[in-house]
Symmetry: C2
Subunit: 152 residues, 2 copies
């Protein structure tokens, strides 16, 4: 089954977020082998923290042919456009890994190194909520590709 | 205190959504008098259902000087742009009402009648999750206007 890795910083603290994540992971299970990697939050002052996280994110992205940063500055696309992009990646057999940054975003070195971006919104959302938004959108993409009733 | 009305179709069924809604409503309380109006889902076949909902939404929007539809087809704006738009509305003293459609969106008659749009994303999200995304973004807008640490 198609492997997709999601890299996130920190563990969600709020119970509703944990429950929603479980819910969407279960929905995705028939379509992809999704692996959520939680890296620890970087320590110290702002830039130092982002640098720490960048090293860990880079490490978790390594070996994947198509590393993608989830970022509000990426191309805004509709759910249909995202589904079609995902479908092409799966058809090409490329392994996919997505990363959601911490609340300060990504260190410039990571932004410079990885050019592929997907935007969940032009607005900024808490990174815990972004996890849910991404998983919902991933499930929606599979529903669109399959042609089900979920996406009307 | 500044009144803001949010009109939504149906009640959220999932417990995590109910909890997150409560959480953000509490955060917003010091900044605005937010009122969430839940109108019942329209009945019958697709177009009939949307027409039913449109009548109820129009009714709930009436009397508000600035009625706004939340729609993926609206202008994509950043959190800062949304906050600045909200700040101008509050400064002008206009009363604000937002509507989130059901999973089929809005009836064309409502789209034709109300031109102001705000997009939470170019992607389609479940309307229950849109409630949370909107409330979070409203709170974030107040945090931006106030200049707090929430929005970094």
């Amino acid at each position: 089954m198609y492997p997709i890795r999601l890299i996130v910083v920190g563990k969600p603290k709020a119970e509703p977020i944990i429950l929603l994540e479980k819910h969407y992971k279960k929905l995705i299970r028939p379509y992809a082998r999704l692996e959520v990697i939680e890296i620890p939050e970087g320590k110290g002052q702002h830039t130092r923290q982002l640098l720490d996280e960048a090293a860990r994110i880079k490490n978790a992205l390594s070996g994947f042919q198509r590393p993608v940063l989830l970022s509000a500055t990426g191309q805004q696309s509709s759910s249909e456009e995202f589904a079609s992009w995902l479908g092409s990646r799966m058809d090409s057999g490329e392994s996919l890994a997505f990363a959601i940054g911490s609340s300060h975003g990504f260190h410039p070195s990571l932004n410079a190194e990885i050019s592929e971006r997907v935007a969940l919104s032009a607005m900024t959302f808490p990174h815990d909520l972004c996890r849910i938004m991404f998983l919902e959108q991933l499930y929606r993409a599979f529903a669109i590709l399959r042609g089900g009733a979920y996406h009307k």
